[in-house]
Symmetry: C2
Subunit: 358 residues, 2 copies
């Protein structure tokens, strides 16, 4: 249970009182706490305090190395300058990239953030937003995670939520993403295509699959049921893609193109294909999704549909801070759509025999 223990361990140590408090600083100066506080915060109310006194106060603060306690300040001001970030896991790949975008913007603006990962355990998904709000976060960013209720602060979701009032969704243009991948493969002459769907619990799975079907239809490609597999399990290792690709191969149904749910599974797929004696890309072209850092350094380098993950993190942070500082009933965006792009690398090429066919 992730809950502060009321009486932890044997020795609860009383940490040394903060060395220099506002009170001690004020006493040192022979002034009131109020005066010191006003000056230090450059409050407009300090305008009647003469420059000389202000200088003395600031100098003393510097010399004694005074640093106001943020806990106290937050309590009084009802502003914590803190937000909560909820991710499925702190993985290589997806979450790390989004987080680095979030961090960039937040820290620049003077906010700090808590990170929690729920590893798809539903009791944690319920509990964490509450725990974070107890810690006075001013807003939440959910990465690929859907909350059902209990969120009273502004919430921005990076791919995950649907139409819940109060949340701003940052979503990829999935139609375009699917079209990019399938157009690329068809242009290369591929007709027999296999697909790896995402796990049931991943919020992108359904939308993405719908988009794939639409794009396929638009391009006149028929999707064969036996060439569709679905990732299972919570790990984020290529192992999952490896497993389902074996299934795909076992079906005996021929295919020359493979569109994976993400780069991680594409990497596993490549391995399985190779073990089965299929060369990538000569025999099978593989397209991944996300463009995580290591996609470019696979062998062969992975062709993939790029999600601007870092930017999505930045946008999430920006939007959240805007919502936090906006007046209570101000309108806010329900959805922000970001565009994918196709990154063509070495894992795709013309379909076997297609140059003759054409």
């Amino acid at each position: 249970m992730p809950r502060p223990k009321s009486g932890p361990a044997s020795h609860v140590r009383k940490p040394a009182r903060q060395s220099v408090s506002l009170r001690s600083l004020a006493e040192h100066l022979g002034l009131s706490q109020a005066a010191v506080s006003l000056v230090i915060n450059r409050s407009p109310a300090a305008k009647s305090i003469p420059q000389r006194t202000q200088d003395l106060i600031r100098q003393a603060a510097r010399e004694l190395n005074y640093r106001p306690n943020q806990l106290a300040r937050s309590l009084r001001q009802q502003r914590s300058y803190t937000i909560g970030v909820v991710v499925p896991e702190i993985s290589e790949g997806y979450a790390a990239l989004v987080m680095s975008g979030i961090e960039d913007h937040l820290l620049e603006e003077g906010y700090f953030y808590f990170v929690v990962s729920h590893r798809h355990r539903s009791e944690l998904i319920e509990e964490y937003p509450l725990l974070l709000q107890q810690r006075a976060v001013e807003g939440l960013i959910a990465v690929d995670t859907a909350f059902t209720e209990g969120v009273q602060v502004p919430l921005v979701a990076v791919s995950g939520h649907r139409d819940v009032p109060g949340v701003t969704n940052i979503v990829l243009n999935h139609s375009r993403a699917a079209a990019l991948a399938l157009e690329h493969l068809t242009k290369l002459g591929h007709r027999e295509m296999a697909f790896i769907k995402g796990q049931e619990f991943s919020s992108d799975t359904a939308v993405r699959w719908d988009s794939v079907r639409e794009a396929a239809e638009a391009l006149g490609i028929q999707i064969k049921e036996c060439l569709v597999v679905q990732l299972e399990g919570e790990s984020s290792s290529p192992e999952l893609g490896y497993q389902v690709t074996k299934k795909l191969l076992a079906s005996g149904e021929p295919f020359t193109g493979l569109f994976a749910f993400n780069d991680i599974s594409a990497i596993g797929a490549v391995q399985a294909l190779r073990e089965a004696g299929r060369r990538v890309p000569e025999d099978v072209s593989v397209v991944g999704f996300d463009d995580i850092q290591s996609a470019a350094f696979q062998n062969p380098a992975l062709t993939t549909v790029r999600q601007p993950l870092r930017e999505m993190g930045v946008i999430a942070a920006e939007t959240l801070l805007q919502r936090i500082t906006a007046p209570p009933n101000a309108p806010y965006p329900k959805e922000i759509i970001v565009e994918p792009s196709l990154v063509v690398r070495a894992s795709t090429t013309t379909a076997p025999g297609s140059s003759r066919d054409a």
Copy 2:
């Protein structure tokens, strides 16, 4: 400047007062705040309060969905149950693995943590520990980051610090790590070896290099200056390893084994070798370092010296919490050594011609 703006934006919204406070709950019950607090926290002092009243209090708390404000609690108790984690960057690979270990243990124990990344900018390395302490963190974990001063709370460093009083270092047994790699290569018959050293700023660079030299000497291997290159630049992309390996190849000096500073650079190295027409592992065996998740899914799968990064994160968190709850002047470990292991995969094999030679 990462510093809270005193008057941010135009509309500073006064967030809705916390819906139900201790005060309102107590009023609702017609009891004092003290009584309610004692019962809710299961304080021993509540023993004189009859069960019936306790039940009423707890029931009301549940019904009104009372959740104590942690800010207020922390201020009063001088315990924030919060720690700060400082990393060079929120990358795929190293930091992500360590962080996931840290998170695992911390959240289990009811602690939350702030993450900050400094991207090797020295003013941030100085500023962040102070900023975190202003936010009342009870301890710090520094990942591959050396603080010079200003840390007044327990500090645990995961590879990075040296001999500073007050810090617990979690360090890899570098001698053993170097020995593992070089013994493996020599057993495979390699004599001509190239090395990629870490960046100047990486705290592991120096120790690791010393260990490599010692191990080489012990094995009777001569290290040629022209076969030693050093990573440069702050990015954590394989690009860096790619660049320096080109230099290595340009020197014209022959080599059949390559020991890289980390997996990321090893991946770049493989790419450079392959572009130069050298097959891996047939012509050159490559050993990486770290065993990041994607190492296993490279092609060829990377042989590497594994650092137990996740475990190091767990140990760091455990040690830190122990130090936090220990009495003020209790002794604490200065150094905790963790053991590397060699993970043999497909990027190393017997040296060209060595089977005939033997």
